[in-house]
């Protein structure tokens, strides 16, 4: 595992700089429309990447296993607008069940 305090410190510092940049430094000056339009798409692009990358790869190779089924269940649950915690539990429980078989 590569978890370290350096990650905690750099991520915290970086996240604060971003929060402050827009809020304090740039202030009420206006960003070009096209720029803020692109920036607002970051969560869509990255969240989808996290979902697919962590479901279908293992290290640097492709893998289709219990995780894919857990993902399928989570997608149905989220699509049915179930609360986030229920989506998490269903995804994890499905995978845990299949791994235990």
């Amino acid at each position: 595992m590569n978890m370290s305090w350096a990650l905690v410190i750099w991520l915290s510092a970086g996240a604060y700089v971003f929060k402050m940049l827009g809020f304090v430094v740039v202030g009420s000056r206006k960003l070009p429309d096209v720029l803020s339009r692109c920036l607002m798409l970051i969560p869509a692009a990255l969240l989808a990447a996290l979902v697919f990358n962590s479901s279908f790869t293992s290290g640097q190779s492709y893998a289709i296993d219990e995780r894919a089924i857990g993902l399928g269940v989570a997608i149905i649950a989220a699509w049915r607008k179930l609360p986030l915690i229920v989506v998490v539990i269903l995804g994890a429980a499905t995978t845990a069940f299949l791994r235990a078989l």
Binding site: L11, L41, A96
Partner: protein, 231 residues
């Protein structure tokens, strides 16, 4: 004890507390998942206290949990944190306080406080909405993380499918972004990039590279999509 809020303030405070309660449960999940990915209890808590922006915290832990480097984890997480900068732009016109107070308020500029504040129309209620949400949500986010991390230390993450718990949380967080055409294009592009690059570059980098998909925003479309996403 007699403590009553004015009629116009009450719904603001109630919804801030309800939202914070829900986020607190999410924090519990984050705590469990973070220790599952290799953080200790203190590191999980420090992330929630100092980084205080959920999607970035989770993204970093996912990359670490799958064997990525610190640099790889930071890249994607910081890109996700970048959107708070955009929220700050939207909120700063409402804040005309001293620099010190603005520097403090900046720490609380996240999805939820932005949504709560921009939902109000008069300046006084906007301020009440921002600070009630900030204080309640920050408290419950940190409390939830601590409880989750302690609980998570007691179980084996793989056996309990916690890695997919992370994925499931992303799925739930992704859905609201799929309402706009650009959001759907960005999501499809990001997913494609992250999977196609996986065999060729170090772990974590595909997540960062998926950020390139935001350039679908260059398409000349309705600018209302941006305003919608901020709210």
């Amino acid at each position: 004890m007699k403590f009553r809020l004015e009629p116009e303030v009450r719904p603001v405070v109630t919804s801030a507390l309800a939202l914070s309660g829900a986020v607190g449960v999410f924090a519990l999940a984050f705590g469990v998942l973070a220790v599952g990915a290799g953080a200790n209890v203190w590191q999980a808590c420090a992330l929630s206290f100092f980084t205080f922006t959920g999607a970035s915290q989770m993204s970093a832990m996912t990359v670490i949990g799958t064997g990525g480097s610190v640099g790889g984890a930071l890249g994607g997480a910081l890109l996700l944190a970048g959107r708070n900068g955009v929220y700050g732009l939207a909120l700063s016109p409402y804040f005309n306080e001293s620099l010190g107070k603005r520097l403090l308020a900046a720490h609380f500029v996240i999805d939820e406080t932005t949504a709560m504040m921009t939902a109000q129309t008069n300046p006084r209620l906007q301020k009440i909405a921002f600070w009630t949400t900030a204080i309640a949500l920050f408290s419950l986010w940190n409390l939830g993380t601590l409880l989750g991390a302690v609980l998570g230390s007691a179980i084996d993450p793989h056996t309990f499918g916690l890695d997919v718990g992370f994925t499931a949380a992303y799925v739930a967080m992704l859905f609201p972004h799929l309402k706009t055409v650009n959001g759907r294009f960005a999501a499809a592009g990001g997913a494609l990039i992250s999977v196609v690059l996986a065999p060729f570059v170090p772990i974590g980098l595909p997540i960062l590279a998926s950020g390139l998909a935001i350039f679908v925003g260059l398409r000349p479309t309705d600018s209302s999509a941006t305003a919608e996403a901020v709210q």
